[in-house]
């Protein structure tokens, strides 16, 4: 990564700190990052360290900071995590976890039920499978 891009990356991450912190340490932190990059420290590792520091800075209660600010920061972090988890999780387990009545699709409307006796391969015990419109479920 060239120096200009590294500087931009660090500058962006430093914007994540509270304004109070930036006014106190901002210039020095930028200069320190430049010196560390000159020494051969990867810009990504410096950015990660500053990012973790910014998160700690927001989440640490301060005498002058209102609780609502901390709560908002926590809520934003939780939302970001929730959105990420929502994007990553497939929809089928979410439906399976639902406690409401399953919404039957057009192709799997309940039909006449019929029972079939069988043996579970996992337990070796006999069980009854009820076939409903072609979908078998263990009972």
């Amino acid at each position: 990564m060239d120096d200009r891009r590294a500087g931009r990356l660090v500058g962006t991450v430093l914007k994540c700190y509270p304004a109070r912190w930036r006014s106190r340490h901002g210039h020095e932190a930028t200069e320190l990052a430049a010196l560390l990059i000159q020494d051969g420290t990867p810009a990504g590792s410096i950015a990660c360290s500053y990012l973790a520091g910014a998160a700690r800075e927001w989440l640490t209660p301060r005498p002058g900071r209102r609780l609502s600010t901390v709560a908002c920061a926590l809520l934003a972090a939780a939302c970001a995590l929730g959105i990420s988890a929502g994007l990553l999780t497939p929809t089928v387990p979410a439906r399976a976890a639902s406690t409401g009545q399953p919404h039957a699709r057009a192709h799997c409307r309940p039909g006449p039920a019929r029972s079939v006796a069988g043996v579970s391969p996992a337990t070796g015990r006999s069980h009854l499978i009820i076939w409903t419109a072609g979908h078998g479920r263990f009972c």
């Binding site: 020095e28 200069e31 560390l36 360290s49 700690r56 002058g64």
Partner: protein, 112 residues
């Protein structure tokens, strides 16, 4: 600095983490700014202190009144250990020494 933390009890350094202890040790022989601290700690303990960790620890130590920031030269703020900071460091190092001696003794007694 406003918002000083007055909860500094006996051996306060047990609660502040390794980075803060290393910073105090580095400042024990004279004031230093951030870059000098990182370099000194690398030589002293072989620990690579990230800049985010450094500033977090400096703020915490300053709130506990264990260090103080000196007027900036150019853009850099040098930091200096305070008298309570030196006392806390001495107490912590004494405690570590006692634990270390006990550990060595037990290793000898155990014949390991």
């Amino acid at each position: 600095m406003s918002g000083r933390d007055s909860r500094a009890g006996p051996d306060v350094l047990r609660r502040v983490g390794e980075a803060s202890v290393l910073i105090l040790i580095s400042l024990a022989d004279g004031p230093k700014h951030g870059y000098a601290l990182i370099q000194d700690i690398r030589e002293l303990a072989g620990v690579e202190l990230g800049p985010g960790t450094l500033y977090g620890a400096l703020d915490r130590l300053e709130r506990l009144a264990l260090i103080e920031s000196l007027p900036a030269d150019d853009r850099r703020h040098p930091y200096r250990i305070t008298a309570p900071g030196a006392a806390a460091l001495r107490e912590h190092l004494d405690s570590l020494e006692r634990v270390s001696a006990a550990g060595r003794l037990r290793l000898r007694l155990g014949g390991i």
